[in-house]
């Protein structure tokens, strides 16, 4: 199972990087999300996969009764998903606003902050 998930993580990251190399902002955004999900899956796999039961300590005991799934990666991923979602929402709105006011959804034509063909700096001093 680990191998299947490892290959899947590889596919996610490759797809994410491919989309990030695109010039269209929306494609980059989708690439970010896929990359982020690949990373979440990686944390999940890195926490060791088991076919065991949920990490619940039975009533009256101080420690679980027998092997359990590792709960920590799930906590890490949950945090990462929430953060990733917040960033995605912000960047989506930002891309939309940028499209509205810059009339560009392409990073090549988005050059307000760094204008092309600026005159050379003065040679004095």
């Amino acid at each position: 199972m680990d191998y299947v998930l490892a290959i899947l993580v590889g596919c996610f990251v490759a797809l994410g990087v491919y989309l990030l190399l695109s010039r269209s902002v929306i494609r980059m955004l989708i690439g970010m999300t896929i990359l982020g999900n690949g990373v979440n899956l990686l944390i999940f796999t890195a926490g060791r996969l088991t076919r065991e039961i949920a990490p619940i300590v039975p009533a009256g005991l101080d420690q679980p009764d027998g092997p359990i799934a590792n709960p920590l990666p799930q906590a890490l991923i949950l945090t990462a998903i929430v953060i990733g979602f917040a960033m995605f929402s912000f960047l989506l709105v930002l891309a939309f606003r940028a499209y509205q006011s810059l009339d560009a959804d392409n990073t090549d034509t988005m050059r307000v902050a760094e204008p092309v063909n600026e005159p050379n700096p003065p040679l004095s001093y």
Binding site: V13, L20, V25, M28, M32, L35, G36, V39, L42, I43, T45, A46, G47, R48, D62, Q63, L72, P73, L76, T79, A80, I83, G84, A86, M87, F90, L91, L94, A95, R97, A98, S101, L102, T107, M110, R111, V112, A113, E114, E118, P119, P121, P122, S124, Y125
Partner: protein
């Protein structure tokens, strides 16, 4: 059976130990309260200043305690350290957190002068406090995943600040800033996932304990990913393009805050993770680190010379400063890490002050491009002195603060006794010269030469707003000058604090893992 005292903390945290997390609690609660107060007119400004003053008071207490009794830690949620999330302060972390809060105070005061009658309705003060929370958390945390969370807190607050106002250039800059920084934190998360898979822990002190016995090749891969992620956050050479594309777009106060805090957190995280946590992998990566340091040191000031937009040029100087800290990471002798730490301290203060001066220049001339500026010396001599002093400090000219870290780094390079050490030392000197050329060229263009024909200056702004802005900028510049003239306290702090980076046993003991319990 698990013995409960081995897994849980059964006594309440001593009241004095709360000082480790109190700055964060204050910032986060303050940010939330400032959001609620936003319709109360000018109150949010006073409120935010009070919060930051309280944070400064906490951090001074923290720093004094760390000075007296070594690193200090606090673990949350009753679980003992490898399980509970720890916060730990050593001299470096506490000192940088204090510097960041001081800089934030100056920026808040300056912003009040610039924003004038505008009240806090746009959430500016909340976001500044949230940014400070992210920065302070990154400096004080003792857990790598927690560091990731503080990075994201810092990132989302900076997203808000960079687009505040919504001019087209800001949106453009924010797209580049946002995507590349989000990508950097995703790489950081990727490295964390792999590290967790390899070591089974993300607590910094615990990593120190178990990393030496893990597969060195796999750990080196993780270290390379961390180098890339923190390199992007810090704008080190091959991945620095987002900084000059974004830092000049928001209002000058926001640029000042970013320049002082964000890249420094990135480079500090690199120092901590490579030099302290994974020193064996750092040794493997040393050729890469040296190459990055050299390239960053040499290319950044050349960018500053070629640039005419004032704040973009200063952005390149910020990148050059990152190169100097990289030298300390590439040559981590005692002098090297001391120099890197002192440089971060210097850069937080000087870069913020430099951007604030740039804001004053821009509002005085009504221009952002140095091609259209000129003759400002006649209009405002104090401004020219401020700018020149800060340029000298950035380049590392003796009487000012920038000189001391560069001296330490040069010592580290030459003390290495190898050609690599000599190379980085030479690069540091060339960097200083190029920075001086770039800065004095800007000074000559803006202040010294005659104003270009047809240039008209906007009318001088009202008195009270001037005082707030000059006061904040002047106070920061005064700190830079004073710390350069009387550096004894700083060297004393380094003497106590720097050995902890190279031999973290005191740090591990403070977190409570010395016995190697589980």
């Amino acid at each position: 059976m698990v013995e409960v005292p081995q897994a849980m903390i059964e006594t309440a945290t001593a009241a004095a130990d709360w000082v480790v997390v109190l700055p964060l609690v204050l910032c986060l609660m303050g940010a939330a309260a400032a959001l609620m107060l936003r319709k109360s007119g000018g109150l949010t400004f006073i409120f935010a200043v009070l919060i930051v003053c309280a944070v400064i008071a906490c951090e001074v207490t923290l720093l004094l305690r760390v000075f007296d009794s070594g690193p200090l830690s606090m673990t949350m949620g009753k679980w003992l350290p490898p399980f509970g999330i720890s916060f730990a302060a050593d001299i470096f972390g506490a000192g940088f957190a204090l510097t960041a809060a001081v800089v934030t105070l100056a920026v808040l005061v300056y912003a009040q002068g610039e924003r004038g009658a505008e009240d806090g309705r746009d959430g500016f003060h909340s976001m500044v406090l949230l940014l400070l929370a992210g920065v302070t958390g990154s400096f004080l945390t003792g857990d790598l995943f927690n560091l990731y969370v503080w990075f994201e807190v810092m990132l989302i607050a900076s997203f808000g600040l960079i687009v505040l106002g919504g001019r087209p250039a800001q949106l453009d800059g924010a797209v580049k800033y946002g995507f590349l920084n989000f990508l950097a934190t995703t790489f950081f998360l990727l490295a964390l996932g792999l590290l967790y898979g390899l070591l089974g822990t993300l607590n910094m002190a615990d990593i120190l304990r178990v990393a030496p016995s893990a597969n060195p090749a796999a750990i080196a891969g993780v270290a390379a990913l961390l180098l890339l992620a923190f390199g992007m956050k810090a704008a080190a050479f091959p991945v620095n393009a987002w900084l000059p594309a974004a830092y000049h777009t928001p209002p000058a106060v926001v640029s000042a805050l970013f320049a002082g805090l964000l890249t420094k957190v990135g480079i500090y995280a690199m120092l901590r993770s490579l030099v302290v946590l994974l020193p064996a992998s750092r040794d493997l990566l040393e050729p890469v680190l040296v190459a990055i340091a050299l390239a960053t040191l040499l290319i950044a000031p050349l960018g500053a010379i070629a640039e005419t937009n004032l704040r973009r040029a200063i952005g390149f100087l910020v990148i050059g400063g990152v190169g100097s800290v990289l030298v300390g990471i590439a040559v981590p002798s005692l002098a090297g890490v001391s120099g890197a730490g002192l440089y971060i301290f210097h850069a937080i203060l000087t870069m913020t002050a430099l951007y604030l001066v740039a804001g004053l220049i821009e509002s005085r001339t009504g221009q952002t491009d140095s091609r259209q500026m000129g003759g400002l010396y006649a209009a405002s001599a104090p401004l020219s002195v401020l700018f020149f002093v800060l340029v000298l400090a950035t380049a590392g000219v003796p009487p000012f603060l920038g000189f001391w870290p560069k001296l330490l780094l040069l010592q580290a390079g030459l003390g290495e006794g190898s050609w690599v050490g000599g190379l980085v030392a030479a690069a540091l000197v060339v960097n200083a010269v190029l920075t001086l050329i770039a800065g004095s060229r800007l000074w000559a263009h803006i202040f010294w030469r005659a104003a270009p024909a047809g240039a008209l200056m906007p009318p001088a702004p009202p008195r009270h707003t001037i005082w707030l802005r000059y006061g904040a900028t002047g106070a920061l510049a005064a700190v830079v000058v004073a710390a350069g003239l009387w550096p004894n306290g700083l060297f004393e702090a380094l003497r106590v604090g720097a050995p902890d980076l190279l031999d973290p046993s005191r740090y591990v003991a403070a977190i409570g893992l010395a016995g190697g319990a589980p």
